[in-house]
């Protein structure tokens, strides 16, 4: 992917804003959700909404690390846009009768752990780390989850909302891969040494420990709903293909780490990786929610209401 002009991108972002009020959430079509679909879709939408929300917090951290004002403003918009996606997905859940009053769906324990980590440590992470992980999450979302949703749900309002969401996501990916390449500039040994230094940070190790079980749990949840595992893996491979198109992309050590990790995640035969991570997923089920600190207030910003 060629580097994009970030100044032009910022203008484009500002000109492409939309609001929940642009969509008629009471329009006909909600009845197209089948009874069989409903319970699985409810869980899927809750996971999707939380991933968007977690991604939003990631962009908030990136805005603090942006090397220039343009990228900082872009990330500030992306933070808000991911929140908008989460809000729109909640509005869809509300439309489909999946929300209980004003309650927001309960995040699973692995999401809770990632939320805790993001809240405490994400602002201290270097740009190249978060800036490389986020395109991977985005591409997995864009390429697999949203596609699966649109293939299986016939409600036109859902399609209308996801047309807008996907437009936003394509801009997020464009910027994401540009930043990934930007981080591949400089002397290779310096990039590698810096990445190794970051990898040894206890806070990042904690982050990895909360991120890996989340990936496997999401994979299990999605597969259980009928998404073909291969389409998730195909989306993850896209990250490797697009990120590795240019020399600078390939020189970014975080691209190398994340794409190699992606290969391991998609290789079910790699028992060395999956046995302990799947065990960690099971183990986290035993963490009593009461020992976790209260949900941070940024989570309470979520809303399905188009007006306030």
């Amino acid at each position: 992917m060629a580097m994009i002009d970030l100044d032009k991108m910022l203008v484009k972002i500002k000109n492409s804003q939309w609001a929940l009020a642009d969509i008629d959430w009471d329009a006909p079509g909600a009845e197209l959700i089948t009874e069989e679909q409903w319970p699985k879709l409810k869980e899927f939408m809750a996971d999707l909404m939380w991933i968007e929300h977690v991604g939003a917090r990631g962009f908030a951290a990136l805005a603090k690390k942006a090397p220039n004002d343009t990228l900082k403003e872009i990330y500030t918009y992306f933070h808000a846009e991911e929140q908008r996606h989460a809000n729109a997905e909640m509005a869809l859940m509300r439309r489909w009768g999946m929300l209980d009053g004003d309650e927001i769906p309960e995040p699973n324990i692995n999401l809770r752990l990632v939320i805790e980590w993001l809240d405490k440590y994400s602002d201290d992470m270097p740009l190249e780390t978060l800036g490389s992980v986020i395109p991977m999450l985005e591409i997995a979302l864009d390429g697999a989850l949203c596609k699966f949703l649109l293939d299986s749900v016939k409600d036109p309002v859902c399609h209308q909302a996801f047309d807008k969401i996907n437009d936003d996501e394509s801009r997020h990916l464009g910027v994401g891969f540009t930043v990934l390449e930007m981080q591949g500039h400089g002397k290779l040994y310096q990039l590698v040494l810096k990445a190794m230094g970051t990898l040894m940070r206890p806070t990042l190790i904690l982050g990895i420990l909360s991120y890996l079980p989340l990936l496997n749990r999401m994979r299990d949840n999605i597969v259980e709903m009928g998404l073909k595992e291969e389409s998730l893996y195909a989306a993850m491979k896209k990250f490797e293909t697009i990120g590795g198109r240019t020399e600078h992309g390939r020189r970014n050590p975080w691209y190398q780490i994340i794409s190699r990790h992606g290969r391991i995640v998609v290789d079910r035969r790699n028992r060395f990786y999956h046995v302990p991570v799947d065990a960690a997923v099971k183990l986290t089920n035993y963490i009593p929610p009461s020992i976790l600190p209260p949900i941070p207030t940024w989570v309470k910003e979520l809303t399905w209401k188009p007006t306030a």
């Binding site: 500002k14 939309w18 929940l20 846009e81 188009p306």
Partner: protein, 533 residues
Amino acid sequence: MRNTVSLDKTVAEKKMLKPAAAKKPAVKKNTGEITLAQLESTESVAGQVNTADVLIIGAGFAGLGTAIRLQQAGVKNIVILERSTDVGGTWRDNTYPGAACDIPSNLYSYSFAQNPDWSRSFSGSGEILDYIHHLVEQFRLRPLIRFQRNVTGLVFDENTGEWNATTACGEQYRARAAVMASGPLSNASFPNMPGIETFKGHKIHSAKWDHSYDFTGKRVAVIGTGASGIQIIPELAKQAEFVKVFQRTPGWVLPRPDFVTPEWNKNLFHKMPAAQTALRRALFWGHESMALGIIWHSPLTALVEQVARSHLHAQVKDPWLRRQLTPDFRIGCKRVLISNDYYPALQKPNCKLITWPIATLCENGIRTAEGIEHQFDCIVFATGFDVCKNGSPLPVTGVNGRQLGEEWKRGAQAYKSISVAGYPNLFFTFGPNSGPGHNSALVYMESQIDYSVQGIKTILQRNLKLLDVKADVQQRYNHAIQKRLAKTNWNSGCKSWYLSEDGFNSTMYPGFATQYANQMKHFNLDHYRAINA
């Protein structure tokens, strides 16, 4: 040999003012009513040429102060042209609820007209405006002021050595010297935001407050969290149904040591003016020491930032809200804010901070980028002033028809902030690079005024047709100023109203107030081209 002219300090009267605040309401409404005295001074005939020794443009703090000091120096033939119907400039226009100065009143006043009766350490706009009105009465300035005279152009006549001002109503005023005291923060307008024209509710700008609008039970938005915004928000939160505060960039907020002045204190200042002068001096040096942390990056910078962080930590318990309110630029880069009640107000149940970018204004309110339409009855724009950094505040034509606006297009420049080569006999108050970031604006203003008085006296006493700063002197001065500015916190990377779009700093003075005062103390005639009439 250096030719210097120094102002006779013995004429500086130190008259005490009568109590001001008790007699008048805390916030004076700008009703637009014209007093009899003002009516008298508006009588003039279009096309008629009025002459004076000195023409002062603007009847705010700077214009009135210049008139006082000129009179004290024996220059009596003065005309002040004021576009409005009242004196006071910024303090006449900014009457929003909570409007106050963030410099202690004992320092935010003229040393030659101290007020022993300030009701608080940091007075509100009403009391400051009362002080200005008292200056007018005390020094009998009203007959000099021509109200409702909006100057539309200022042209220098090289043959006669006079400035010719034209007003919107077609009058002409000629004078041997002119003082631009139009103020750096005198123009305000609604910002150019998408959809602003579509909003059907009420719109108010902080600098043009609508006192007839009742906020009780209203849904209110405040856009902007600068010096005006943080003063308005606590007041509106007391009245409105809810207040949503739209913040783009959080500023550094320091605690405000504001207290009511005890009666014994006022009595002491009445009986012993030296005590008030001593307090003023202590306040001055206290603020001067802040320069080390605020203007330049020093160990003190980290200390001042820590004080602001501790203030935030003490007043805001929620970590996310604290994060939203924590600036990511070095303290001093933008204007430092002073408040004790802003953070508590934001946490009231009817108040909410919104940091999502504004996507557009719409019929019912504001749509933010997280996709939500926030609906309001009224939007308050605390979005600051139209600061003139590129170009001149009004069309000014100098020698050989040169246009100041053109010359300042790429950034305003002057000699010692006050004289501009090619524009003789003209003196600027708050001209280029005269802004303080850490001390009272009036301290700087006094230096500028006294310098202008020296220049004007030189013109009149020596009967000069033309007193024009040498271009090379001005150039050298600016080269040094910009070199020094590069090392300051203002030029450390943040966006602020101190800088032009391309990052040129033509607003701030890179140094201590003492340095500024020292450079303004002596009027060095060698630096000027002087031609006799």
